[in-house]
Subunit: 199 residues, 2 copies
Amino acid sequence: MDDDTATEILEATSRALCKHGYADLTLTDIADEADRSKAAIHYYYDSKENLFLEFLDFLYERYTAQLPAVDGGTPRDQLYTLLETALTDEEAAPAQEYQTALLEVTAQAPYNDAIQTRLVSFDDLLFERAREIITAGVEIGEFNETVEPAVAAEFLMTAITGAHTRRVAIDQPSERSYEAITQYAERHFLADGLSEATH
Amino acid sequence: MDDDTATEILEATSRALCKHGYADLTLTDIADEADRSKAAIHYYYDSKENLFLEFLDFLYERYTAQLPAVDGGTPRDQLYTLLETALTDEEAAPAQEYQTALLEVTAQAPYNDAIQTRLVSFDDLLFERAREIITAGVEIGEFNETVEPAVAAEFLMTAITGAHTRRVAIDQPSERSYEAITQYAERHFLADGLSEATH
C-alpha cells in the first residue's frame, strides 16, 4: 500500500474511534469513514486489532515528530512546552472522545502484549525527553541541584497520565491539570521558586 | 433482598470482574460466581449496568469505612497512610485484574452519567480527606506555610490516578509510584524538607 493510502486509512481510524469508541469500533466503521469498501480495508488489515496496532505506531511517529519542537529556550521553557504538548495540545492530547478511546485501549494492555509494548514506548519517549530536560536544567543551575532527574521525570509521567485519566473519568479540564503540574514544577524544580518558598 | 444476599452478590461481582474484565462480564458469570441461578440475579438486578452501579456504591462505602483509619498521628503520618491506602493497600487498591476492570469502567464514564457521578464521588472523597490533612499540617507548622491545600490535594489526586493507570498500562508497580509520590510530598510539603533542599 502506498503511504497516502495508509495515512488516509489511519486518519479515518482516528475519526471512527472518536465516533464509536474502541470496544464498538468495527472495520466497517473505518471503511465508511475512509469512504472505501470493507473488502479494501480487509485487503490491508486482517483484523481490527492489527489495524489498531498500526494506528498506535502512527500516533507514536506523530508524537516523535512533535517533540523536537520542544527544543527552543532554556530547560524551564522546554519543560513547559513538553507539558503543554502532553497535556493541552490538541494534536498530541486531542478531543475528549479521543482520550476516552485511548483509555479503553489502555485497559486492554494487560491482555495484549503488542498494545502494552506500544504504551511502554510512549511512556519511555516522554520520560526520556523529560529526564534530559531536567538533567540539563540541573546542570546549568536553572533547576535546584537536589532534584533527581529520573525520579522527577517519572513523577511527571505519573502526573501527566493522571491528568489524562481524570479528564475522561471526572471531566477535569486539561488546562487545570496543566496549571497544577506547572505550579508543582515551578516550586519543586526551579532554584528561585524553592528559595522564595522558604522565605 | 437482605444485606447478606446483597453483599454475597457484590462480592461475586468483584471476583467475576477480575476473571472476565468489564466488557465481557455477563450476569451469568456473576451468577456462576455467586453459585446462584441467572434468574435469581435477574430477580434483583435487571441489567449488568444496574448491578455494576450498585457495585460501585458498595466499593465507595468500603472506601469510606477505611478512611477513618487514616486518623492516627500527625498530618504527615496521616498523609502517608492515605497514600498507602490509595496506592498500595490490597483492599482499596487491589489486584492488577481489578485495577484493569476499574479502568475499563472509567473509560465508560463519558457515555454514562451514573458511572461518572460515582467516579466524581470517589475523587471528591479522597480529595477532601487530603485537603483536610494538608490544611491541618500547614496550621500546626508541620507543612510549609506556602503550600495551598486545595491545589496540593488536587495534584495528589492527579498523581494517585496516574499511578493507577500506569499500573495497568505499563505494569508499573504501585510501590514505585508510592515512593515517588511520598518523596514529592516530603520535599514539597514538609517545612524541613523544603529548607534542606535549598542548602
